[in-house]
Amino acid sequence: MSVAPAATLLALMQSGSTVAASPLIALALVIPLCWAVLTAMRPAPRQTLLVLSGLGIWNVASAMLWWHTRANGVVNYALGGWSEPLGIGLRADGIASSLVLLTAVIAGGCGVYRLCTPDADLRGTAMRWFWPLFFLLGAALNAVWLAADLFNMYVGLELLGLSAVGLVAVAGTTAALSAALRYLLAALLGSLAYLLGVALLYAEYGSLALSSVASGFAPTDTTIVALGFITAGLCLKTALFPLHGWLPPAHSAALPPVSALLSALVVKASFVMLLRIWLGPGAPLLVPTVAQGLGVLGAGAIVWGGWQAIQHADLKMLVAHSTVAQLGYLFVAIPLLIDASDTARAFAWDGLMLQIVSHALAKSAMFLASGTLIAAVGSGKVVDLAGVSRHMPLALFAFGLAAVSLMGLPPSGGFSAKWLLLQAALAGGQWHWAAVLLAGGLLTAGYVFRVFRASFLQGAEDRFTDTPLGWDVVALLLAGMAIMLGLLSTGPLDVMRFGALLQRGIT
């Protein structure tokens, strides 16, 4: 089975620029699924060659899909030639292709990080299920990014929830198990709410394809109730304040590469679904009141998450609460996306896209670096970091670069995203969101500098465990990408505008 996608890929690469898009889209699902099966056949905590080949092929295929979208625009594809509604319809627009590539890159980083883990840390009965779940998670993410209809999104979302919960539980500690259970209950509740909404929409429109729902859309009572269910379910899954309670324990109790994947990508999946539904078929119902309401919740997340991160004694809890806060920025962008001014909407879209990507890179780097620091210090407490600035300079540097992006300081993707959102807020005269954006930056500085403060204190010597160099390299690379994105964002942003969901058009 492993030969088939590799051979296809080779054929594709040889055919040069005339690559057909459709197999590429399918490959984005097939490759991770194949490796999920392959690694499950003889599950083991370490399958270096198999995993590395999988990650490599996955990255190459994703990059080719992105390149194809960049050159040729949006592509629709019916998997196996079966058309909707019984077949699986896929659609690779700019945001989908970009997120497929982002997933491959971050999964690559997290996978390599995991491969570098010393044998001593791989003991535990559940560890051998790491790789099957890891690749399944990748396939589920790609399914969500590429889904063109409401039901495929549901399937992707469920697969995602299950593999994510499994990955949290793999850590095997009681904290991880209870966090996994809580996460599972929240995820199940969220997806059921979503499914109910989908059921209502199907009853109303007789179709599940986003495009057909959009074309027949009418703001009936059923539709409003359906969108309410869908929104509530997806907000729960995105951990939007005040529905975020499940996130910090799950993201902090998991293994470092799992935390990184969860914070960077998994929570974004439900957000992208929300975006596709509200800006697609639901656009007529996205009135300013609704949008401002979502924005207010986002602002609540920024303040509450930031404040909690400042309070927490535990490093990974700090980083996890930072995710809650950073997700708030995504929702703050929503009222700006429906602004009356074309300029404001264009800026808001670019800013939102950049925030999604740069937060994913920065947060995965930060979780990986935190994992390294914790392994070196042997404690998860922030105060125990005293002295790491001397002994773990690379890990701390990676943490620092990631922090620069999260704080929105230049040069970084986080800064450019904040800048664009700020421009959107000012262009649309929505000053209150500008204030929220700036306050969020200050709060972020408040909690990340707690970490630096602790690490610059002179600590006792000789109490540090050596960590693999590969850990630092991966974290540095991901953080470096978050920084570089600040200088070179126009190219990626151009692609992410293809098939943009803004109905009134991007200028």
Binding site: V155, A169, G172, T174, L181, L185, L192, L196, A199
Partner: protein, 105 residues
């Protein structure tokens, strides 16, 4: 009331809604993980009834909702299985049946 009696699918859908409501109440009221899991399963069944019933009520017999529900059932079974595995491990490790956050509350 008359429409309800005339249309069996709508009746199913309403029963489904009732089930969802009951199960949601149970989900919120109980803290025992297994009870919550049961509530979730009942909730799932309720929403499948809505999915099929409502669609058939508005547009007659239709294979699509059936296919969707089938997928949904598979997902629900898988989730329940995963939940049970994780719960059992956790129960063996700690002896608790209620999640720590709920215990405090």
């Amino acid at each position: 009331m008359t429409t309800l009696l005339q249309s069996a699918p709508l009746f199913y859908a309403l029963v489904g809604a009732l089930l969802v409501a009951i199960a949601f109440t149970a989900f919120a009221a109980h803290t025992h993980v297994l009870r919550r899991l049961l509530a979730f399963n009942v909730m799932g069944t309720g929403s499948f009834l809505i999915l099929v019933g409502l669609a058939q009520h508005t547009r007659g017999p239709d294979p699509v909702p059936q296919a969707l529900v089938l997928t949904g059932i598979v997902v629900a079974v898988a989730s329940t299985a995963l939940a049970l595995v994780v719960f059992r491990r956790w129960y063996e490790a700690t002896g608790h049946v209620v999640l720590p956050e709920d215990e405090r509350a």
